[in-house]
């Protein structure tokens, strides 16, 4: 049965500060869905201002959940330990250094379980101002994510399990997430391929990267 409705979403556009925002958000979503990471759903769309990425609102029409407060982090980490580990591993994979408060979670409703990250505009090609420098950083053992809301709150064993799970994903899927089969806005196919290769490298090195920076992540034993 088909029916129609209106969905609320936050629209994101390419801009001077983040020139490849739409591409980056879409690729991050594709990767998250491929790896089963809890992130908010989204879609490519067109608006009066051109192509946009629509990040769908969580929870309910018109009243999304509030962003996570710093003081709520410990409680949420205890409530969603596996999701937290998945999100940290994913953020390290894509170089999302700006997770901050970009998390929505239900914390007090017994029968509702929601934990989702959103806003990945500062990851992938947008880690640094120039896309090629971002790709170079991804293809290194640099942690990139110097700070994360759930560092020192995540279980070490769960984090390592997620790193292993991500690293075992077939390279083909990671590459395909980056490819549009044509130039997409300002991202040509050469850059798409280069990003795919960098992510494959980083995926394979993820366990090593986490082990090397474990003192910064300071997971729970």
């Amino acid at each position: 049965m088909t029916s129609f409705c209106t969905l609320n979403a936050i629209l994101k556009f390419d801009g001077d500060e983040i020139p490849h925002c739409v591409y980056v958000e879409n690729v991050a979503l594709r990767l998250a869905q491929t790896l089963h990471i809890p992130v908010a759903d989204g879609a490519l769309t067109m608006s009066g201002d051109g192509p946009a990425y629509a990040s769908l609102e969580l929870a309910s029409p018109g009243i999304p959940l509030p962003n996570l407060l710093k003081s709520q982090r410990a409680h949420v980490a205890a409530q969603y330990p596996d999701e937290v580990a998945a999100l940290i591993a994913f953020d390290i994979l894509i170089g999302n250094w700006d997770r901050g408060e970009n998390i929505k979670a239900s914390t007090t409703t017994p029968h509702i379980s929601i934990f989702k990250g959103f806003d990945h505009s500062h990851s992938l090609l947008s880690i640094q101002e120039e896309a090629h420098k971002s790709i170079a950083r991804l293809k290194s053992t640099d942690l990139i994510v110097k700070h994360h809301p759930f560092y020192n709150l995540v279980s070490r064993s769960r984090l390592e399990a997620w790193a292993k799970r991500i690293s075992m994903k077939d390279d083909l899927y990671i590459r395909e997430c980056c490819l549009f089969g044509r130039p997409f806005r300002g991202v040509d196919q050469q850059m798409q391929n280069a990003l795919g290769e960098a992510l494959v490298w980083r995926k394979r090195s993820l366990k090593l990267i986490i082990a090397r920076h474990i003192a910064q992540i300071t997971p729970l034993p």
Binding site: I10, A59, S60, P61, G62, I63, P64, L65, P66, N67, L69, K70, S71, Q72, S106, T107, T108, T109, P110, H111, I112
Partner: protein
């Protein structure tokens, strides 16, 4: 002491921008204070007040409970720092979430005045408590508590269940009817009984519940401490009638403010999950 307060508003239509006051939040002397619609002194949130003013489906009134908890957490933590408080309030506006905290003003308190009392007064001035339309019936109340507790959202939760038994050595079949049944690692059986109605009706329901639970236990369907009778209240005049029922089941009073939490404890769900 000066309280710098903001009006927490629900904006149903962002295009129109008109908001309805649903709470107040303030800070002063490195402390923050919050009062919200349906938020009790113990921090428990009754979402039905917000549901009365929100045109959205009743399915989503739980989101307001999350917001109320968010403001409470903010007031107890980040809100103590004026800069963080201001930053978070500004960010609310930017999020376009339908919940805003608009600048209200400054309230100067006389020396020795209790800021909590001042907040109670401010809340009464700013927020009009809406009339609620439901739940009016006992069944609706029970179902709301089952929903709030999360029990009705669990897999294998059933309404209005008839159990058929074929006792060994007997040609006859027996039937018992349960108001609700949770088929988890150990079954939890529920019967709803109204104690506040006519005595003969009340007695009939109590006898029915006693019989159902006794037979269900004897026939091995459920264990005694997982038989729960949901009652609308416990009038003192009905205490003696409850004596028989207490031998076969645990009594859960749905009129209690913490009924949902109490029901989780009585269902021993921490063991069954």
């Amino acid at each position: 002491m000066i309280l710098d307060y903001r009006l927490i508003q629900y904006v149903a239509n962002p295009d129109q921008g008109e908001g309805r006051n649903i709470g107040v939040i303030a800070h002063g002397n490195r402390k923050a204070y919050y009062r919200g619609l349906g938020v009790g002194k113990n921090g428990h949130v009754d979402n039905s007040y917000f549901q009365a003013i929100c045109r959205g489906s009743r399915e989503y009134d739980w989101v307001y409970g999350e917001w109320a908890a968010w403001f409470q957490t903010l007031a107890e933590n980040e809100g103590k720092d004026p800069d963080q408080f201001d930053r978070l309030m500004r960010e609310l506006e930017a999020q376009a979430s339908g919940i805003l905290a608009r600048p209200g003003g400054l309230l100067e308190l006389p020396d020795g005045e209790d800021p909590d009392r001042a907040m109670d007064w401010l809340y009464k001035q700013a927020v009009k408590t809406p009339k609620r339309s439901g739940p009016g019936t006992f069944t609706a109340k029970v179902e709301e508590i089952l929903k709030t507790s999360g029990i009705s959202g669990l897999p294998n939760f059933h309404h209005d269940v008839v159990i058929e038994f074929s006792p060994e050595g007997s040609c006859n079949r027996e039937f018992v009817r349960l108001s609700y049944l949770l088929e988890s690692t150990q079954r939890v059986a529920f019967k709803a009984v109204r104690l506040s109605g006519r005595q003969d009706v009340c007695l009939r329901q109590i006898n029915d519940a006693s019989y159902c639970f006794e037979r269900a236990v004897e026939l091995g369907f459920v264990v005694p401490d997982r038989c729960i009778t949901l009652v609308d209240s416990i009038p003192s005049a009905r205490e003696t009638l409850l004596g028989q029922l207490r031998k076969t089941a645990v009594i859960a009073d749905c009129s209690h403010e913490d009924a949902a939490r109490d029901l989780i404890m009585k269902s021993l769900l921490s063991e069954t999950r």
